[in-house]
Symmetry: C2
Subunit: 302 residues, 2 copies
DNA sequence: TGGTTGCGATAGGATGCGCCTATCAGTGAT
DNA sequence: ATCACTGATAGGCGCATCCTATCGCAACCA
């Protein structure tokens, strides 16, 4: 609508000031403008509205009926504008309100408990909402603006995004308790050639990364594909084979000690978990700071 | 409050347009400005608010969280502005809304029934609110802006006002039915020298005007002062003396024929009933037209 | 009564804002 | 590779807004 809104907020302020002070000079003073300026703007406003708002008798100013109505409305509008300014200021603080972050399933259960307490205590006004999704979905929603950021592995196939690393997460081998390979302190990829290797289901980026690591050797994938690291660990502990796990998950998934876990000989394959956001996001700076907070919290974990 | 309201309504319109179209060019088109103009204004708005409202990715525009909030508020403000414009337009029609008119008691009961139907049918959107008060009160309230106009006698002591006459109202003599003076078709002021003349109470302008008329002869005032013409007529009909009545009141006050009413020889004293308003009132023109309508309606009375 | 003080309106001139057109730089589709 | 599209940028024009100085009028006061 191209309605002829050729009135300005300032004019409304002027009108309200005149109504309050019942005097052009006093109103002008209150608005920090000269009296002629204010007179001209009031006249302009009256012209735009097509109504006389004030009755200028020598020695006195009175509101016309139209003036009463318009000034009342103007007060409402100005209150609305004030609200807008205040809300904008509040919304301008990046560490208030809600931040929507997508997290891949092979990270969420292990990293979040470590870092969210620190974030919450550092930014009390900030509410983090995590969505657990696979990389591709996170990237899509990030792109559509449904998410503010993502927590995922930089090694995955993501697009051109800004990111800040949280932690480097080496892969380790998980074996059934007492497996013969567990006699070695460190394993090589080739050591897995003789055991079935269990991997995650399609779509999990960790599947691709583990697969890439294995392909340097001659390992073969088992027929079964797990839908979570927890299932994977369960399968391994029941003797179905071996697997690679991100070290991040070990503490949780081997909490009952049912696995034998061994590191891989360097250069050990690893993934880099990072906070990722659109390059154009105005939250860039704050998200970098948030990532820093997360990194520190993770390093200081108990 | 001199708050830094340095944002304009137009800027809010631009922001809403961008939010609606999700494109600067389309928004610019809708606002009938060039795209650079709109870009600059959005940038300016973001600067004033201290928040980025839109995320400009090449190929796409998205609202930031602050943008969502601000645009929502902006819509509210713009609706308020629209309301203001509409209300102003309505209030700008002088023949709509309410008109407060003060009427002197010696006019109200006799003139209003004659003229209000015509006014109502000619200006259906106009609501007339009449207050019956004495001249001095009407003048004061007129001055204070509590009344838009007054219906009173120009002969009274009013200040410097604009006015439009409604009718010339000659004074007539009211006598008890069958009074000896009633034998004459026309009376002179001197004829009242021998009867007590009843008059209204202080403050009624008609009292002063009747008194002035009588003083040209040698009439003497009765001890009693009536508070209304109805009382006056009642007193006269019961034989307490004679009185002057404005002709306007005769039809009503002598509706049961209990009085003998005789005109005064010319030049008969009279009063001029007029619609009166502040010279500075923006309703001047319309009130003149209203007076014209009243005059015509009175002349055409049944 | 004449001077002073208050009012809002007016005149004239400086400044800057908001607008324009023309162009650039990057993306995506053909 | 070209074309069509995005928003950002550059430069310039003109009007809107502001200022100061003044006028004309009303009220007050000596």
């Amino acid at each position: 609508m191209p309605s002829a809104h050729d009135l300005s907020i300032r004019q409304l302020q002027y009108a309200v000031a005149v109504a309050d002070t019942l005097g052009f000079r006093k109103a002008a003073e209150r608005c920090h403008v000269s009296q002629p300026t204010l007179s001209a703007q009031i006249r302009e406003l009256e012209d735009v509205l097509g109504v006389q708002l004030f009755e200028r008798d020598k020695r006195r100013v009175t509101l016309t009926r139209a003036g009463e109505i318009v000034v009342q409305r103007a007060r409402k509008v100005l209150l609305g504008v004030d609200d807008l300014l205040n809300e904008a200021k509040r919304a301008g603080d990046p560490f208030s309100g809600t931040l929507r972050i997508g997290v891949i399933p092979t990270v969420a259960p292990y990293l979040l408990p470590e870092v969210t307490p620190a974030v919450s205590s550092k930014y009390p006004k900030l509410r983090l909402v995590f969505r657990e999704e696979k990389t591709a979905d996170i990237v899509r929603e990030l792109d559509e603006g449904l998410l503010d950021a993502g927590l995922l592995a930089l090694e995955a196939d993501i697009g051109d995004y800004a990111s800040a690393p949280i932690l480097k997460d080496p892969f380790v081998v998980a074996l059934p308790k007492g497996h013969s390979l567990a006699k070695k302190k460190k394993l090589a990829i080739d050591d897995l050639d003789d055991v079935p290797v269990l991997l995650l289901d399609d779509g999990h980026c960790f599947r691709e990364q583990a697969l890439a690591a294995c392909e340097r050797g001659g390992a073969r994938e088992a027929a079964f594909r797990a839908t979570s690291l927890a299932t994977l660990a369960q399968m391994v502990s029941s003797g179905a084979g071996a697997t690679l796990l991100p070290e991040l998950a070990v503490e949780v998934e081997n909490r009952r000690g049912q696995l034998d876990v061994r590191p891989l000989a360097s250069p050990a394959p690893s993934r880099t978990i990072a906070l990722v956001w659109r390059k154009s996001s105005p939250l860039g700076g704050p998200l970098g700071e948030l990532a820093q907070t997360m990194r520190a919290a993770f390093r200081a974990r108990g």
